[in-house]
Structure formats: C-alpha cells, structure tokens
Amino acid sequence: MEEELFTSGRNIPNIDPSLQIWHWPISLYLFLGGLAAGILFFAALFYLMGKEKQYPALKAAAVIPPIALSIGLLALVYDLTHPLYTWRLYTTFRIESPMSWGAWVLLITTPLSFLWLFSYYRSAFPKWESKLKLFKKFKFLEKFEKFLIANRTYMAYALVPLSIILGVYTGILLSAFNARPLWNNAILGPLFLTSGLSTGAAAIILLSRNREERHLFSKIDLALIVIEIALITHMIMGYYAGSQVQLEAMDLLVGGEFTLMFFGFVILLGLLVPAILEVIELLGYKVPVAVPAILVIIGGLIFRFIMVEAGQLTRYLY
C-alpha cells in the first residue's frame, strides 16, 4: 500500500485535490483554433491551385475563421488571471514556449483572416452589401478591396503555413507538458491538426450548395477521419507501451471516467458514424450531408474538452 497525505492542510484553489487551471475557454479555443485553421488551409490551398471558382463554399466559409478566432482569443484572455498584462506576450518571443508561438501566430493570422474575408465580401455576400451599403458610405474601401484582391496570392502563400502552425500548435500546447502524462505524447500535435482540418472540411460541407463540391469535401473529410482514427489508435498504443504514469493516464480514457465520452461521442459518433455515412453517400445513396458534418464538428469539440479535462487529472506520483 502507498498513501500520501498533505498533513499541513494544503488545499489551494484550482490545484488541490486535482488540477483545474485550464477551464472550458481553453477547450473551446483549441476547437475554434483548429476549425479556423482547417478552413483557412483549404481556402488558401484551393486558391493557389486555381480552383476557387469551382468551389464557391470556400468563399462563404471565409466568414467562419475571423469569428472563430475572435471568440477563441476572447476565451483565451478570459481564462487568464492577470489579463491586464496580456501585452507582455508581445514584448518577447520565447522559442521554447509553445504558447509564445501560438500568441504570435494568432497575432498574424487573425487580422489576415479578416482581410481574406473582406477580399471576398462583395463577391460572396452581395446580399449583405446591398443592405449595409458599406462601399457607398466609405469610398476608400473600393481601393482597399482592389489592393487585397491583387495581393490574394501572397495572403494565400502566408496562410498555408500559418494555418498548419496554428492547427499543430493547439496540440503542441498540451503535449509540451511532461508533467501531465496524458498530454505528453508527440502525436497530439498532428492529431489536433488532423481533427482541425476535418472539422474545417465539415464546416465547408455544411455551407456548400453544390453537389460536386460536397462530394469533394466529403472525400477529403473521409480521408482525414481515417487518418485521425489511425492517429488515435497510435496514441492509445503509445500509452499502453508507456510507463506507469502513462498507463494510469490511459485508464481515464479506456475503462475510466471518460470512457463513454471518448469512445461513445468522439470515436463512435464523431468519427465512425460520419465516416460510414459519408461512404454511403459517396456510393450514391441519399444521406443528408449535414448529419455527418455536424457529427464531426461536435465530436471535435467534445474531443478537446475531454483532453483538457482528463489531462489535468493525470500526474506524476512520488
């Protein structure tokens, strides 16, 4: 038997008996960051491939990243306990700190996502413009739009690597913590990137009105789901082959308190069911495409919540 007690009566808020430093805003941000990264990646990539005219939903989807990133940033700042000093992030760059990387990437990507949206504003949302009449009220917008459209290629070249860094960073942020064995595996970065790309593809499917386009993104989403299942399998295999602390971490997901959430909502409803539905749809049967897309998005959200919550329950024993 091993038993350890704090006899001096330690009961620090958010730390004892189990760590609860990062709350729902962090999970929400990790999801929104991944979603925004996914959409920006596809939008920029298809633009560079010269195929944006074939896929109009990519333009419409440009509205999601600026909103998602803004809400995500607000959530991040909301979770800080010393928020008035947030500017301190931008007086330095710490190459070893994933959060520093994330802060700088967000500082560049968020405005870029707004500019990217604005460059499509008139062509993708003519109804909004006819109501708001922004271009009539502010003459300089005409010039600004022209400038953005002329430089769209440069924006796309910047967005491809930035969106990948943003997507990977949401995972690396967690995996860099050796002290939390559930997070401390090298696969979490690629896994969160894949999940982010998959939710991004799902969001594009939801906005698409065009059958060919939906089929293409269903195929992309299907491939990403298969990769994601493979990465999750490797993650669990890694825990199985790991040390005692990793075995205990895995117990939370396999057989412990998060089992139903993880296998039921993430693996089954968030990955396997949408994959099966997408295959059926691609075979030519009628399936409402919104169903797999919504399942993928909800599954991605629940996955972030589970990882953030469960990770903080795992620790080293001494």
């Binding site: 350890e4 007690l5 006899t7 800080l80």
Partner: protein
C-alpha cells in the same frame, strides 16, 4: 554557485513550522502555501513505513515552467533559483500545468507565485525562513558547487533521493533517507 536544499526525512517530525514560517515571511495569502508537509505511508499493516517530507518548489536545473512561460516572467537567477516576475506574468497557467510537483499557484491578485528559496533573505546573507525556524534542524541550505559546504558533505555521506527524477527536471531539493 548552485543553491540547493537538503531535508532529513529521518529527523523531520512534520510539525509544519516551516509552512507557517514561509506564510508569515512571504505574506502568503490565506488558504495558500508555498511549502507543505507530505506524510507518505507505505507497506501493509503491521509492516508500515512512514516518511515525512517538507516539500516545495524543487528549483529544477531543467525547469519546464521556465521553458513553457510565454512572456519570460518565469526565469532562473544566479544560483539556479527559479523566480516569477509578477508584472510580467499574464496568469496563463502554463507553468502550473508544466510542474510535476504542483509547486506553483495562482495568487489571488492574478499572477503566479511560488517558493523563492527566500531570495530576499539570501541577499542579506540569511537562510530561507523555513530552514531557519526548523525546530529539529532537519533542513539544510547551501551551495552545491562548494564541496565543503554542509549540504555537499551530507549528500556525500548520506543516502538520499529527489522527487520524481523520472520527470526529467533535475530537481534540487534532496531528501536524506
């Protein structure tokens, strides 16, 4: 110079005097602590073994909290002491997540706080508050780089351990066992 602490678990009685001394000296807010006593029982009745440890920040030589800090608020000063600059800290909590010892906490004023090895007392040539009050004199503090220091001699002659060395942080609070 490399500051380190050596604690004799065979002499410690778990009185918590070090905890109270620290709270008083460093004006630690009510309900928080920078050091604490752990009572570890192992074995099965009647063959039980009890170990009492006064624990705190291990001022690791490979501190994950300093590495993950996005603003540089967590830093290492001369002697290997890990400190937090309050007005550089944004309270993101990354360092708390990164610490295998749960030695850091969020101060009610927002910034992250922890044991400083009583850096302000060291500057005056005094010992850390916890060490100076220990009634059983089970705590020792000094320079690990000096082979003649009390702690170097103790570590040379006595069996000792650190906490969770497998976490790879190279902790610098040693426990004589």
């Amino acid at each position: 110079m490399r500051y380190a602490m050596v604690i004799d678990t065979l002499k410690c009685v778990g009185c918590s005097d070090c905890v109270v001394a620290c709270q008083t000296e460093n004006n630690v807010p009510h309900g928080y602590c920078r050091d604490w006593i752990t009572e570890a029982v192992s074995g099965s009745y009647p063959n039980l073994e009890l170990e009492l440890r006064s624990e705190r920040c291990n001022h690791c030589a490979n501190p994950p909290c300093v590495r993950c800090c996005p603003t540089g608020a967590s830093h290492v000063v001369e002697g290997g002491i890990v400190l937090v600059t309050a007005d550089q800290c944004i309270g993101c909590g990354a360092c708390i997540e990164s610490c295998p010892y749960d030695a850091r906490y969020q101060h009610p004023d927002g910034y992250v706080d922890k044991c400083t090895f009583c850096h302000h007392r060291l500057e005056k040539g005094q010992q850390p508050a916890c060490v100076s009050v220990c009634p059983t004199k089970c705590m020792y503090f000094g320079d690990l780089d000096d082979p003649n220091s009390e702690i170097s001699q103790l570590l040379k002659n006595r069996k000792h351990k650190t906490l969770s060395p497998e976490a790879g942080t190279d902790p610098h609070v040693f426990y004589l066992i």
